[in-house]
């Protein structure tokens, strides 16, 4: 069987060829390529009607391969889905989690590889600026990512001050760009602050000069909220909305690292300081 050079030894991660003619694939051997689709198992990648394709040493995870084609034993053809612990799990035909894709890392970290220990829901946690939150909380950029109205679980308020060089202030017509994170419209006063500038004596030498320049001083409170609620991890085709949750492996690794730091500190004798922990 002829080797399909166009589609062999290539990286086709998350790419689809549904619109390509099946004749480009039929009755050929595809070797050593990655066709993995990260969003969901049984994703159609190849055009309808491909037949007689023999896949050798390929990554076909989450790829729908119709009958009439051969998947050699040195390929991988798992069903994989990200779960509520933010890790990829191998799932069965009914999309039930079986084991983590990176089982060895789980075992090294002492994490459970039993699917029953995966959280039932993904609780999305974010830190948002109150002013921004009030502007956007009912918009799709927020509501598309939460399955319920998120709760404000804590908040922190501190006084914020911004100083903008008056010449810069005057050069911009929309001055709200500096005020948008304050809780309310900030007070605006004018004051002088030192600014260092260089005065070139010649092309190789300069001196620093300090002058007092006019600044516009904005002042008001800035409140940040920590919000949480049932949410979604990813939406296909959308740049993800950041959250503060850590994947279970990363969180465990940080926890273990903190335990090491605490153990070093407990030794005393300035060891921790010398090591910079």
């Amino acid at each position: 069987m002829a080797i399909n050079k166009k589609y062999s030894f290539k990286d086709f991660l998350d790419q689809k060829f549904i619109q390509v003619s099946a004749t480009e694939f039929n009755n050929s051997e595809i070797i050593g390529s990655c066709f993995y689709q990260q969003v969901a198992p049984d994703t159609q990648v190849f055009p309808t009607g491909i037949t007689g394709v023999r896949f050798v040493r390929c990554n076909l995870d989450n790829v729908l391969i119709p009958t009439g084609n051969i998947i050699e034993s040195d390929c991988c053809h798992r069903k994989i889905k990200v779960q509520n612990d933010l890790e990829d799990w191998v799932v069965d035909n009914s999309l039930k989690s079986v084991e983590p894709v990176n089982k060895k890392v789980f075992e090294e970290l002492g994490l459970s590889t039993d699917a029953k220990d995966i959280p039932v829901d993904f609780i999305r946690k974010e830190i948002v600026v109150k002013a921004e939150w009030l502007r956007t909380k009912d918009s799709p950029e927020v509501t598309d990512w939460f399955l319920e109205t998120p709760r404000i679980i804590s908040q922190e308020t501190k006084e914020g001050t911004k100083a903008i060089l008056k010449t810069k202030w005057n050069s911009v017509s929309d001055k709200t760009i500096w005020a948008k994170n304050f809780d309310t419209t900030p007070t605006v006063t004018q004051g002088k602050r030192p600014v260092n500038t260089r005065r070139w004596i010649d092309k190789n030498n300069y001196v620093w000069e300090t002058t007092l320049e006019d600044f516009m001083i904005l002042k008001d409170n800035i409140t940040t909220y920590t919000i949480e609620g049932k949410g979604v991890i990813l939406i296909e085709g959308r740049k993800h909305r950041p959250f503060t949750n850590l994947s279970v492996t990363f969180a465990k690794e940080q926890e273990l690292r903190q335990a090491d730091i605490d153990a070093v500190k407990a030794l005393g004798g300035g060891i921790a300081e010398r090591l910079g922990v």
Partner: protein
Amino acid sequence: MAAADMYVQADGPHGTEDGLSWANALGLPEWIADMTNNAEAGDRYFVEEGTYSLTDNYAGTLNGSTAEPIYIISVKSGTSNEPPLFSDHAFTTARPVIACGAYTFYHNDYWIIKNLEITGTASSGLIKADTGSVLQNIKSNNTGAAGRIAIWSGSTGGRIIGCEAQSVNGVGITANGGNLIDACYIHDCTDGINFNATGVTIVNTIIDTCVDGINVATRSTNNIIGCTIYNSTTIGIKGSTGVGCTILNTIIDGCAVGVDWTTASKSNYFDYNCWDNTDDVADSDIVQGNSKVTGDPGMTNPGAGDFSIGTGSNCHNVALDAGDLTGATV
């Protein structure tokens, strides 16, 4: 058994399949098996340009040594020298691609890995530099879900040199204790660099168009020197409770906020930096230093990836250098 030079080709194995010459090169499965079972201090794997698609995790447990690391060095297509010369080494588009899919390409201690491109979606990093290891001229792109990492500096003393990292929904590089990140280009990430421990040093590195450029978080005594942080859509350098950090000779330009700390500490030392952001600092306890420069650094074309500055720049010749040290004779 003595250390050996081994040869790997994407369409291998060939000939006797012992990997001891190009004619008998290993293929990917044989290469993985050899690294897993036989790699020893001083071994060198020369990997020819091509695409190598993983079908499972590779997590090697064999170590090089402080005297004799184990090497992976990638070379251009058609290389025939045995061993290859430096002129055979692969750069830019000639680098082999390790297509990880959902899997990882992890090595253990004292490995030096050069000249690879890595793609995938794994959560805890596509590739890592463990104790005493070096990643050099590696391009890693993680296109996975939220929080996924392009390069994980896995353990103490890992060095990441001249690498490129991208993770559109996650982290470019996660740095651990005592790591060095030097001359890297990190771009289009949610977090460009996350500190996971203390004693990290970042030098000569560009962090371009990330949501947050560098996240110091709670980590202390880290150093950011001679870097450029450009166009962070939220914060250039952010921290929560980290103290004792040093930020010197760095351009922070075009960010919504240059530097912000949840609980700022004056023990974080900033000076000889150039600031030109919508909002340079968001806390009065962030002290910019007496030798700060403000205003446009005049980079040549940062939007097109040219971050160079000319002799007329605001930032030219203003960095702290040995000549500024009182009492030193230079």
